[in-house]
């Protein structure tokens, strides 16, 4: 479904991704793991069209998307839930959610989508008329995740979804991701809660210094001595 082929990305003169290649099959959960600064967020930003590639290609459903503007990529039903949320602080929770459903396909199903995300995060129903800036950090993160699901994505990319969430909700987030997959959404996940992320994923890629250094099934990752020591802290 998604094929990233030998992409190279620079920030100014500094190269941050080196010949990165990976792929995702339909209805898979694929995880990118690696230390902070390894290039995982940069990969998601490249797929979303937020960063230009110096070379390499990205294909989605067989067509090139690497030169498309971001709004066109969103229209293909690729959703990106960024690290740290980045919801609109001076809009209400409800308005943020509505914005998530601005593409035509999602607009039709908006009411249903809103009901669905309110069921996932009941506190957002209570807060729906509040400005996002009056919410706590964790609640803002919930708004961001909910907004990302409003577009009814075919491919959903989540960057640190558990960021700032209480333990009880971290468990809930993993359940939500698994449910999305069961309902047919393909998931690309970047998450530092490595062990449990691997437990719900099908496959993983390990990033170091902007390069893919290991790939395989999640079971393989969970058993790999190097991964256990360097990334699971075991």
């Amino acid at each position: 479904m998604l094929k990233v082929d030998k992409i190279n990305v620079f920030y100014g003169k500094v190269q941050v991704l080196w010949n990165v290649s990976f792929s995702i099959e339909e209805k898979e959960i694929v995880t990118l793991i690696g230390s902070n600064g390894a290039g995982k967020t940069t990969v998601l930003n490249s797929i979303s069209g937020l960063l230009p590639l110096t070379s390499g290609t990205i294909e989605f459903g067989g067509s090139r998307i690497d030169k498309m503007p971001t709004y066109r990529i969103v229209e293909l039903c690729i959703s990106h839930i960024p690290e740290g949320g980045l919801s609109f602080p001076d809009m209400t929770v409800y308005e943020n959610l509505k914005l998530g459903a601005y593409i035509p396909r999602a607009q039709k199903e908006m009411q249903e989508s809103i009901e669905r995300v309110f069921q996932m995060f009941p506190v957002l129903r209570e807060r729906s008329k509040q400005l996002v800036r009056t919410l706590s950090g964790g609640e803002r993160q919930m708004v961001a995740i909910a907004r990302g699901l409003m577009s009814r994505p075919i491919l959903c990319m989540l960057d640190e979804p558990s960021y700032g969430l209480a333990p009880l909700l971290v468990g809930e987030i993993f359940r939500v991701i698994k449910t999305l997959q069961e309902q047919g959404t393909t998931i690309l996940l970047v998450e530092q809660n490595v062990k449990h992320t691997l437990e719900i994923s099908d496959r993983a890629y390990l990033f170091e210094n902007g390069r893919v250094v290991l790939d395989g099934t999640s079971e393989k990752f969970l058993q790999d001595d190097y991964v256990r020591q360097a990334y699971l802290g075991l």
Binding site: S35, N36, S136, G137, G138, E139, E160, P167, H196
Partner: protein, 245 residues
């Protein structure tokens, strides 16, 4: 000795009581973890201690003197520094300049400085950012930005350090490094109040834990007591094994 004390601390946001009659204290040299569900009032409490908000009622005292109602820079100069959950750096300044601002405007500002830039570099080295000296704060990764906030706070030479989710976004191996770092800070005699959801960190660093829920203190005690507390499990930890790690 009690370095920080709060008595019946209450703050209302419009009709909402974000904190209601919260009593708390920190002993000198202690590390206290502050936990609770999202929206419980943890960051609000840090905002009250650091002067970003003033309580609707109640008093906060630092070293026996009332600080609630003082301006944030006055509180910083008395020796309380903090980091922010949503990072607030000087984004268009370099990494060392951010730290330098801490050392020049914090508690340490009265001391005759021989070489503030050298001192800033030492703080950066301590938090592991010394290689980023030519980079603008905005170009750091989110986790490095948090580390820079920690460096800036330390550069003010605080007696009390308030940490708001410094571990968020770190992988387990990085959490271990961060735990070591906070223990080292504590080893320097700095009292620490930390908001954190990473239970592994809270459990291994805290001498004591305070739990907030809906703006009220629902539990307080040693880490081992807290994780067995039924109210804490119900409202915060959950029964999932994986949520707790």
């Amino acid at each position: 000795m009690r370095i920080l004390e709060g008595e019946k601390v209450t703050i209302h946001f419009g009709g909402l009581a974000a904190l209601q009659n919260v009593d708390f204290h920190l002993n000198q040299g202690e590390v206290v973890g502050l936990i609770g569900p999202n929206g419980a009032g943890k960051t609000t409490l840090l905002n009250l201690i650091s002067g970003f908000l003033a309580p609707t009622s109640g008093v906060i005292k630092f070293r026996g003197e009332k600080i609630s109602g003082l301006k944030r820079h006055q509180i910083c100069r008395r020796g309380i520094a903090r980091t922010f959950q949503s990072v607030k750096l000087f984004s268009n300044m370099t990494v060392p300049m951010n730290v330098l601002l801490g050392s020049l405007f914090g508690k340490a500002r009265d001391i005759g400085r021989l070489d503030p830039e050298q001192e800033a570099m030492e703080v950066l080295k301590f938090v592991g950012l010394s290689e980023k000296k030519d980079i603008l704060a905005k170009d750091l990764t989110l986790t490095d930005q948090k580390r820079l906030e920690l460096a800036r706070a330390l550069a003010t030479m605080p007696e009390l350090l308030l940490l708001d989710e410094v571990m968020a976004g770190l992988n387990p191996a990085e959490v271990i490094v961060a735990i070591r770092l906070i223990k080292e800070i504590s080893g320097k005699g700095i009292t620490i109040l930390m908001v954190e959801h990473v239970m592994r960190a809270i459990m291994s660093i805290s001498d004591r834990i305070i739990v907030l829920h809906h703006g009220e203190k629902i539990a307080e005690g040693a880490p081992q007591e807290i994780i067995r507390d039924k109210k804490v499990i119900e409202s915060y930890l959950g029964t999932d094994v994986y949520a707790k790690s």
